[in-house]
């Protein structure tokens, strides 16, 4: 008590006069600096701490360096350290309610970090096991990293074992320290590749995966999400760490992250909850899926070996189940589709695995009405669309049918090929699916057929409806194939426009999927050309598929349907007709089609400029590749019409206009719909598919020019039918990537061979040794045998000798007897 009284008196001043805050702080700082007794310094720092909130500026300006020095000097005193750490943390935290405090907090942080060795002292203090010391050090570091991450990273790197101390926080049994440490590591590793590598070097992957397991994997709490975030920070853009992750067999541990049979508080398995998706579980799962994607980024040297490892350890199957057969929330499914897309991209084995997969499809999501967990869904989509156009007006009744739909959902669904369900989701079979999920499914489909002409052909053949007398006919669902689903979606809106479903994206997604089946595949185009509709027996004229699509296009344009419908059809026709004279011949065999295109493009047309642009592009293609001998409408017919009725300048301008339009240029390489894009019942801003955009960018210039070339030019004369440079280049790059992946594989196989060889050499060496030993043993045996023989001989000799002696003895005995001596 004496001590406190004297301390207080000293603070008050000798005559007890009133002192200002800054004077007191001055005194306290002096005392910290100069007091020789530990107790005095301790009392002073506690006092300083107590006024640090009230007089932050004074304490900071006067005291920050004093406090830093105190950490050096009195690092053995736990109470002092605690107080200093707390005070420094307060100084570095901006007050939310006051202006200018952010700058001050930054100033304080920089002052503390000015000398890297001060940070090193903080890191050294982590050796201390005291809860509060560890906790306050982590809090201070977390505050510093928020204020100036770059400087803190620099400081930590100067301390050789600083990082390893921070990582040791993950092993702290006290959860709060472990969790705070985890957050600190996340902030530290966000951008610094050097730190990322050190963290990985310190066995962070193993530690984090162990924590995730311990915390219940995907069903665990936010700590699991944080761990996954850190794993991702370590891997994203960091090739060295990705190699390390694979080399330490961490990919094989990913499947166990999906397991969610955690124990409840009574130690029972929570299996009944397996299918419940809390928000947290959804977040965790999305993080796991992101982790998978980080490892199979397109065009990366690590992707091919990682894809192989992943399918071998069952991740491919897990993703198929999650995206198609589980009742996961739609945002999770969308993520799963993207992960799956990248897992099979340009990987024939994995593409084939998906094509063979059969699943029991999950119940389609209900048409959303205020489902809180599905924030992506657009509950009010119908109401806003009602006013848009007659084409879209049907949606309200669909929503009204929800009761009936929901009932149907409860029926057990039949097993079907996975890819059928992917197509069904994309083309809008399930009105409850969000556009995000449908875009993701489309992305998967693209990845499925990418660089895979065989799959394109297989899918093209499914355009023919499955036989009606199929054994499946007993089922209440009509047998479906990818092709039949596409066809009904492509035409579907026409039939339904006046009745119910009229989502412009049904035909749009179907057009995109279909164009991926046809793109650059003459045989697939041939199969599609042969498809006809209409029952001849009933006196209907058969209509070919390409005509049916053209007709649908005309109806959409004339009916003022949403512009996406027409854009979808036009893009499909462009890809179909490109480099395919037969398709062009069939398309133009109906005179109305040419007429329609001309009218669309003509300068007086009031049509949407993007639709006009694609129509002009299609017309250009129809001229450019119109090489069929017996075509009804030839190049000689088309050119004068274009040049006179449209004019070359206007024709070229139409194409340029779409090329320069915002929707065309803002298409992302991976088809994606952000939840925000479809909120409030809006339609997403998805007008073009990326591969169409790429295709058009590659070819439009030539198409624009081709219209000016004489119709008499033959393909060989003007070289038009030869693939252009861009195409050759793109093929070349594809081949190069293929080559490089193959190279990598070769290299890997080589190294395996090398290992095997070495093993063989080792074995050979061992064998040699054995043989040597064997030879030695044989030699020994031989010499032993010889010895044996020698001994035997000796034995024999001895026997003979004995016999001789015996004989001699008998002779002697005889002689003795004869001499009359009684011999024995």
């Amino acid at each position: 008590m004496d001590f406190f009284a004297s301390g207080l008196n000293a603070l008050r001043g000798q005559k007890g006069q009133h002192q200002t805050g800054s004077e007191i702080i001055d005194r306290l700082c002096e005392r910290i600096e100069h007091a020789t007794l530990l107790e005095d310094r301790r009392a002073a720092v506690l006092a300083l701490k107590s006024c640090s909130r009230e007089h932050k500026r004074d304490v900071g300006t006067r005291g920050v360096l004093v406090l830093c020095n105190m950490l050096r000097r009195d690092s053995m005193d736990i109470d002092i350290c605690k107080a200093v750490l707390e005070t420094l943390t307060v100084l570095c935290q901006p007050d939310t309610d006051r202006e200018g405090t952010i700058e001050f907090a930054l100033e304080m942080s920089n002052a503390i970090m000015k000398d890297a060795s001060d940070v090193a002292i903080l890191l050294d203090m982590l050796e201390e096991n005291d809860f509060y010391i560890r906790f306050h050090v982590v809090s201070l570091l977390s505050t510093l990293v928020l204020n100036n991450a770059a400087r803190l990273q620099e400081c930590i790197l100067t301390s050789p074992i600083g990082m390893s101390r921070l990582i040791a926080l993950l092993d702290d049994r006290r959860e709060i320290i472990r969790n705070e440490g985890l957050l600190l590591l996340i902030s530290l590793t966000e951008s610094n590749a050097d730190l990322q590598k050190i963290v990985a070097f310190e066995n962070a992957f193993e530690r984090l995966l162990a924590i995730i397991d311990e915390e219940g994997a995907v069903s665990g709490g936010i700590i699991v999400q944080d761990c996954l975030q850190l794993v991702q920070n370590l891997l994203r853009y960091n090739v060295s760490n990705q190699n390390y992750f694979r080399e330490t067999s961490c990919i094989q541990r990913i499947p166990s992250l999906f397991e969610d049979d955690t124990l409840d508080s009574n130690g029972r398995h929570e299996l009944p909850l397996r299918d419940q998706w809390s928000d947290q579980k959804g977040n965790n799962m999305i993080m796991i899926l992101e982790l998978i994607r980080v490892l199979v980024v397109p065009d990366h040297s690590n992707t091919a070996p990682n894809q192989r490892s992943m399918s071998q350890c069952g991740i491919l199957q897990l993703l198929i189940d999650l995206s198609l057969a589980s009742n996961a929330p739609q945002r999770v499914k969308a993520s799963a589709f993207y992960a799956l897309a990248e897992l099979i991209r340009l990987n024939k084995v994995n593409q084939d695995a998906l094509s063979k997969a059969v699943i029991t499809p999950a119940h389609p999501p209900p048409v959303p009405i205020g489902d809180a967990s599905l924030s992506l869904a657009a509950p009010s989509r119908s109401s806003t669309q009602l006013s848009r156009s007659s084409f879209q007006s049907g949606r309200g009744s669909t929503v009204g049918d929800r009761g009936a739909q929901a009932h149907r959902h409860l029926e057990v669904r039949e097993r079907c090929p996975a890819i059928v369900e992917v197509v069904a989701i994309a083309v809008g079979r399930y009105p409850g699916c969000t556009y995000s999920v449908r875009a993701a499914a489309t992305c998967l489909f693209q990845s499925f057929v990418l660089e895979n002409p065989d799959t394109q052909l297989v899918l093209a053949t499914t355009l023919n409806a499955p036989p009606e007398d199929n054994p499946n006919i007993e089922s209440h669902e009509k047998p479906q194939s990818p092709g039949t689903l596409l066809l009904s979606a492509l035409q579907g809106w026409q039939d339904d426009a006046e009745t119910t479903v009229a989502d412009p994206y049904n035909s749009w997604f179907a057009s995109v999927l279909f164009s991926h089946i046809l793109q650059n595949n003459a045989r697939a185009k041939g199969i599609a050309l042969a498809i006809t509709f209409g029952d001849e027996e009933n006196g209907e004229d058969p209509v070919s598929l390409i005509h049916a699509i053209a007709a649908a296009l005309m109806v959409a344009v004339k009916g003022r349907a949403d512009v996406r419908v027409a854009l979808g059809y036009l893009a499909l026709l462009c890809i179909w007709c490109y480099d395919s004279p037969k398709s062009i011949k069939d398309f133009l065999s109906e005179g109305a089609h040419l007429q329609f295109l001309i009218e669309l493009i003509s300068p007086s047309s009031k049509e949407d400029p993007m639709v006009q642009g694609l129509a002009a592009f299609l017309l250009g293609i129809c001229y450019e590749f119109n090489w069929e001998k017996d075509a009804l409408i030839t190049r000689a017919t088309i050119q004068p019409i274009i040049l006179s009725r449209i004019g070359h300048d206007h024709f070229a301008a139409c194409i340029t206009r779409v090329r320069e339009s915002k929707p065309f240029n803002s298409v992302a390489p991976f088809m994606i719909v952000l939840p925000s894009e479809e909120s409030d019942g809006k339609l997403p801003n998805l007008y073009f598919d990326y591969s169409f955009v790429e295709f058009m960018k590659r070819t439009f210039e030539r198409t624009q020019k081709s219209i000016t070339l004489s119709p008499e030019n033959t393909p060989t004369q003007n070289g038009l039918a030869l693939p252009n440079n861009a195409e050759i280049e793109s093929k070349l790059t594809l081949l190069q990537t293929k080559l490089s992946t193959q190279d990598a594989e070769l290299e890997e196989l080589r190294s395996q061979l090398e290992e095997a060889k070495k093993l063989l050499a080792q074995k050979a060496h061992e064998q040699e040794q054995y043989e040597n030993t064997l030879a030695g043993l044989r030699e020994e045996m031989r010499s032993r045998q010889e010895q044996h023989k020698a001994l035997e001989r000796e034995h024999e000799d001895l026997l003979i000798c004995l016999a001789e002696q015996d004989q001699e003895l008998t002779g002697l005995k005889e002689q003795l007897r004869m001499l009359g001596v009684d011999a024995p």
């Binding site: 390893s164 590749a193 060295s240 069952g314 190294s751 395996q752």
Partner: protein, 214 residues
């Protein structure tokens, strides 16, 4: 990738030494069996891995190749403590790289685990005509400081394999004699699943090497 599972031990190595002495090339020659004359400057630290066989045991070497430049020195120091083996490399055609060994060694002694096996490597032995440090000098330095010693050529691959394997052999002997605490991964050694009975083999491990060839 079957090989990922079947190991008895994982051992962590670091490669240190002046810039341009051929650290990255040694690693590339060891892991990929190739030589790249114009190798980019290493930024920070790069990772490589390979299996070796020592006394019939499968040992997986995880190797961190560090940048030799002074500016990266503080980063690379973070790797010393967690490594069980260190290859300290100099260039036999550049005397200064040999002179700097003392500094490197001090650094290693200060930050590394006391049991870390250090192998001194005089690289570029193929450039005999430009030699500036004799074999005997290298050997003497190693002997004076208790290091293993070899001259290698990352270009011709001479002794490269041996340098890594001999280091591994020495570490393996230390493990056998109980010098290393193998249950503390901070020392740069980890026991493999083959050791614990292999019951925890993940799916796919049984497919063997054949699966990679599909």
């Amino acid at each position: 990738m079957s090989s990922s599972f079947n190991y008895d031990y994982i051992i962590k190595y670091i490669i240190i030494g002046d810039t341009g002495v051929g650290k990255s090339c040694l690693l590339l020659q060891f892991t990929d069996k190739r030589f790249q004359p114009a190798h980019d400057l290493t930024i920070g630290v790069e990772f490589g891995a390979r299996f070796v066989s020592v006394a019939g045991k499968q040992i997986k070497l995880q190797i961190w190749d560090t940048a030799g430049q002074e500016s990266f020195r503080s980063i690379t120091r973070s790797y010393y403590r967690g490594a069980a083996g260190a290859l300290l490399v100099y260039d036999i055609t550049r005397r200064d790289t040999f002179k700097h060994l003392t500094t490197w060694l001090e650094d290693a002694r200060q930050h590394a685990n006391a049991n870390t096996t250090i192998m001194l490597i005089g690289n570029k032995s193929d450039l005999e005509s430009k030699r500036a440090v004799t074999y005997e000098e290298g050997e003497a330095f190693a002997k004076a400081n208790g290091l293993f010693f070899m001259e290698t050529s990352a270009k011709t691959s001479a002794n490269v394999e041996e340098a890594f394997v001999e280091t591994a052999t020495n570490i393996y002997e230390k493990i056998q004699s109980g010098i290393f605490d193998i249950h503390n991964e901070a020392h740069g050694i980890k026991i493999g699943p083959m050791h614990t009975g292999g019951s925890s083999l993940p799916i796919g491990a049984a497919n063997g090497g054949g699966a990679c060839c599909q």
